[in-house]
């Protein structure tokens, strides 16, 4: 057994987290910063943070993840990291020539109280920021919230530093992307294109973290929302935030700053969340839903209906990020599956309330938990108490899946042992179809491998 020390017997925990279902803020800020074209993320803290975050993102995307660090020494921790950051800004603009440096803090620089506003203005005064270049920043203390919080803070800083309102509103809808894969963003842009809706998606990691092999290393790949588009978000007539945890703050800031009204919907994972997203986009972009999308929806419904008996009543354990888990739980219910255990390390009432509402009718016995110590150890203990038929989550789930012999669908961050997540989206009807097929594949493969020989079926 890999997790041989995990038993069904729970001991009340008030302090110890075991096998977390979350990580820290800065990695989220770094990820989001990569969705701005020509931007180099910068980690203001010990160089280990930057190294860990780059490694984590690289292992997941199998792509270059460029970011710099202030490389704090003990001296900087005592006297402040101002000179490190100013020096870093000079080196970065000289050597790597980005259009924007997106600085985020770490627990180290937050604990000592470095003031980024002051340090960055000093860099300007010292002439370290070339004409036309930008240094933006956000606060991402690792001891508050999770990687999702850091993502959200970075997206908000895009709004804070770039969104601008001119007197003329444009017939454009902003799509504020929650934490999802580049493939998911690509799919959302395709849906908007098919609908002929004029949109600006930000941040946009497609074309950045799924770049082609060309024989040339691009420090700043083609993708990413452009600075001019980012500025123009202030003139858009409406914003749709995809995922409350990762985008609501940015939407609110944009409304306050540029009077752009907004609606937050779930990330369009699954049938109903996609319905809501498309309805919202259709309404706010003032475009009809084309037949092409209705047909995609129809194909998805067809697939689910055809395979209903394989989904029905199957118990599922899932873990990950709330903006993914909420629509995913809803989709499992659409499939008539039974979400049994759901954990996310990211704290927040919205998750608990959404779960309560979603599960009340179809799966009232389900257990869910969010925030501190809502970890994979807890999830595993529940599974030991009463088993499930399927596990959905990031790569760390494979240890539970192997020990408990349950089919396992990889979804979330990080996925470091299989490719595919940046090719096949989980958003939109096409994404939901991919997901339903993946679930079927895993569940039926498991049946084929484990059922009695006389029960092996040719046709299923």
């Amino acid at each position: 057994m890999l997790l041989r020390h995990t038993t069904a017997q729970e001991v009340e925990r008030k302090a110890l987290t075991i096998n977390p279902s979350k990580t820290c803020q800065p990695v989220g800020a770094m990820y989001a910063a990569l969705g701005l074209h020509g931007c180099l993320p910068h980690s203001h803290g010990s160089q280990g943070c930057c190294s860990y975050h780059r490694s984590a993102l690289t292992r997941h995307f199998k792509e270059p993840v460029m970011a710099a660090t202030s490389s704090f020494s003990e001296g900087s921790s005592v006297f402040g990291g101002s000179s490190n950051l100013v020096a870093a800004i000079e080196t970065i603009f000289t050597v790597y020539e980005p259009d924007v440096i997106a600085v985020h803090t770490t627990c180290l620089s937050e604990t000592i109280g470095d003031d980024l506003t002051q340090i960055v203005s000093k860099a300007h005064e010292d002439g370290k920021v070339p004409e036309g270049k930008k240094v933006i920043f956000c606060n991402t203390p690792s001891y508050v919230g999770t990687h999702i919080t850091g993502y959200s803070s970075q997206v908000s800083s895009f709004v804070k530093f770039f969104s601008a309102a001119t007197p003329k509103k444009r017939n454009v809808v902003n799509l504020v992307a929650g934490w999802m894969e580049p493939s998911d963003m690509r799919e959302i842009k395709r849906i908007a294109r098919v609908m002929e809706a004029r949109t600006i998606l930000f941040p946009d990691m497609s074309g950045v973290l799924d770049a082609p092999l060309t024989g040339k290393f691009e420090m700043y790949p083609k993708g990413g929302v452009s600075l001019s588009d980012m500025a123009a978000t202030g003139d858009s007539k409406f914003s749709i935030g995809l995922g409350a945890y990762s985008t609501e703050d940015a939407c609110v800031k944009l409304e306050n700053k540029c009077k752009v009204k907004f609606e937050v919907v779930e990330i369009p994972i699954g049938l109903k969340a996609t319905d809501r997203f498309i309805t919202s986009l259709s309404r706010h972009a003032n475009v009809p839903v084309p037949d092409e999308l209705t047909e995609e929806r129809g194909r998805l419904v067809d697939l689910i209906a055809d395979n209903s008996k394989y989904f029905y009543g199957k118990r599922v354990a899932l873990f990950g990020d709330p903006d993914t888990l909420i629509p995913l739980t809803e989709f499992l219910l659409t499939l008539d599956m039974k979400p049994a255990y759901i954990v996310t390390g990211t704290p927040g009432k919205h998750f608990d309330e959404s779960m309560q509402a979603l599960l009340a009718e179809q799966a009232p016995e389900a257990r869910y938990k969010s925030g501190e110590r809502a970890d994979m150890f807890q999830l595993h203990q529940w599974i030991k108490q009463e088993p499930v038929d399927l596990l959905i989550g990031n790569t760390y789930g494979k240890y539970i899946a192997r020990d408990e012999n349950i089919p396992f669908v990889r979804l979330g961050f990080p996925i470091v042992d299989r490719p595919g997540h940046n090719f096949f989206p989980h958003t939109g009807y096409v994404g939901a179809t991919n997901l339903a097929i993946k679930i079927l594949d895993k569940v039926l493969d498991h049946t084929d491998r484990t059922c009695a020989e006389e029960k092996v079926e040719l046709q299923m």
């Binding site: 280990g48 860990y52 984590a56 292992r59 660090t69 604990t111 060309t214």
Partner: protein, 550 residues
């Protein structure tokens, strides 16, 4: 087939070009940065290695390969031990990122043998803990870990904020050891990420902790009295330790402990009953070797069991040290037997690899050790350097007295070790040691990376991303060796990158079978055909409109 003559001619031109590299590359940097970086870029000369700047602060913003002290302590040195509950005291990230990411394989001896490696334990500090202190939460976390798992030992690893807010993890450790009682061993590490200039500081802190809290606690002499050795600085990435364990067993050499691949608490506690310490990764573990020699009288030698010839050399050194014909014969028999398969595999691989160029920028010993394997493959290492090496790892231990101790090294605890009153026992008499030395055996010695590199090759410490890009652009090596952060940058340029931290899920690469694995993997990498398909046909051909004849 490669025309070796052609490649060699290229190599001459290459040497000339390498000499210009430093000036060209630092020209891009701001003035002060250029001055500093230039001192870390030298041309190798094995007879008189030039001075290189190493183990100094990283330049902010330069995009370094380096990580932090916590990574070196918890991730590298203590991570591979399976029966210690390692609690990260800090916000969640540090524990998360060091969770199973280093491929430290371990093999519990039974179903009831403890194995906490697949687990991540963290106090997940919140803002209230930062404001009011985190000691109480840490204590409670230890109580809960004990209630759930009853481990023999719990280690606490400090992250950046811990040192800043003044949590005393050592006091908490002592307190909890008393509270829990029953002989549990609890100890802490002040390995905050900002200490030192790289992972290297963390290795040192871990070494001190190993010596203070684990080594020497169990005097029982177990197993054979003959040929008792430890292997230091071997972390069982990809099963390296398993392969070396196999070889030692086959030779009748009694391996008491690996520090720390496939290790257990008991192996550390008992390691001082060995008669010889072998140091593999000099950078990360030489401190323990020194301390064990001072305290217990165990001599140490540097070994390099990466590469088949070097593995054979290590075995012969062991035989020479113990000086018994029986062992010498057995070692020779094992080498002869193992080398048959090695030779066959090497010759097969060489058909594709000979004459090709490699670059290695990794770790604090691997950039040196792996040159042996590339030599066996007939490949030339044209540029190499460490992420976190010190000058002695480049120039040899002879320079240690002349290394300046700066503020960043001074803040790492130096523990004073003295001769153990009852357990110090010289393993060899002065005369025996002298005789061995006269026979070519070297104790407490490491000659460093530059002793191995051909004259005129590039040596770069703490390679920046910019320097890496220029190296690849200019010299098009056939294989570039580094880590995950570099991998896909280099591969986008059409050059395969071999990860030498995690081996790209390959390995083992140590020992004889490891060498065979490496030959095959490099043969596969330089032989992979996909790199020829980078350009679409229409990108390299002129557009020709179709014409039809009716």
């Amino acid at each position: 087939m490669i025309d070796e003559k052609d490649k060699l001619k290229d190599a001459d031109t290459l040497t000339a070009e390498l000499q210009e590299f430093r000036d060209e590359v630092v020209a891009k940097y701001p003035k002060k940065v250029a001055k500093k970086r230039a001192r870390g870029i030298v041309l190798s000369d094995p007879s008189t290695p030039p001075e290189i700047q190493a183990n100094v602060r990283t330049i902010p913003g330069i995009i370094t390969q380096r990580g932090c002290t916590y990574a070196g302590c918890k991730g590298v040195v203590l991570g591979p031990t399976r029966d210690i509950v390692n609690i990260t005291h800090g916000p969640i990230g540090c524990g998360f990122y060091s969770w199973l990411t280093r491929r430290n394989q371990t093999r519990p001896t039974s179903d009831s043998d403890a194995n906490f490696i697949p687990y991540c334990f963290s106090t997940d500090m919140q803002d209230s803990n930062i404001v009011f202190g985190g000691e109480e939460k840490l204590k409670q976390a230890i109580r809960e870990a004990y209630a759930l798992f009853h481990p023999k030992a719990i280690a606490i690893f400090s992250t950046c904020p811990v040192g800043l807010i003044g949590d005393d993890v050592h006091r908490v450790a002592r307190h909890m050891m008393e509270e829990i009682g029953g002989g549990i061993n609890i100890f802490g590490f002040s390995c905050e990420g900002y200490r030192g200039v790289s992972q290297s500081a963390g290795h040192h802190i871990a070494n001190n902790g190993l010596f203070k809290n684990l080594i020497g606690r169990d005097d029982e002499v177990r197993g054979s009295l003959k040929y008792r050795v430890n292997l230091l600085g071997e972390y069982n990435i990809g099963g390296d330790a398993f392969e070396l364990e196999r070889i030692f067993e086959k030779c009748g050499v009694n391996l008491l402990a690996s520090f720390s691949g496939n290790s257990t608490i008991q192996k550390f506690e008992n390691a001082h009953t060995a008669d010889l310490n072998m140091v593999m990764c000099h950078r990360s573990i030489n401190y323990v070797a020194e301390m064990m020699e001072t305290a217990f009288g165990i001599p140490w030698i540097k070994v390099q069991p990466i590469g088949a010839r070097s593995t054979a050399k290590m075995l012969r050194k062991i035989a020479q040290y113990f000086g018994e014909q029986e062992l010498t014969d057995r070692v020779e028999a094992v080498i002869a037997e193992e080398m048959a398969a090695v030779d066959a595999a090497r010759e097969k691989a060489r058909r594709r690899t000979a004459g090709k160029l490699a670059m290695l920028f990794v770790g604090g010993s691997r950039a040196h050790h792996y040159q042996d394997l590339f030599e066996e493959l007939g490949m030339t290492t044209v540029a190499a350097g460490y992420e976190f090496g010190h000058r002695d790892d480049y120039e040899g231990r002879r320079v240690i007295p002349s290394i300046q101790i700066d503020a960043d090294s001074r803040n790492i605890e130096e523990i004073t070790v003295s001769r153990d009153a009852t357990r110090y026992r010289p393993r060899k008499t002065e005369e025996e040691l002298k005789a061995l030395e006269a026979d070519g055996m070297e104790f407490n010695e490491y000659h460093g990376l530059m002793s191995q590199m051909e004259k005129g090759m590039l040596v770069i410490d703490d390679l920046s991303h910019y320097e890496m890009e220029k190296l690849v652009e200019k010299y098009h090596p056939d294989v570039f060796c580094a880590g995950i952060k570099e991998k896909f940058c280099v591969q986008k340029m059409g050059i395969p990158l071999k990860q030498l931290h995690n081996y790209d899920v390959g390995g083992p690469y140590a020992g004889f079978r490891g060498a065979i694995n490496f030959y095959k993997d490099i043969e596969m990498m330089v032989g992979a055909t996909i790199w020829k398909e980078v350009k679409a046909p229409w990108e390299s051909e002129d557009f020709v409109e179709a014409t039809y004849v009716y």
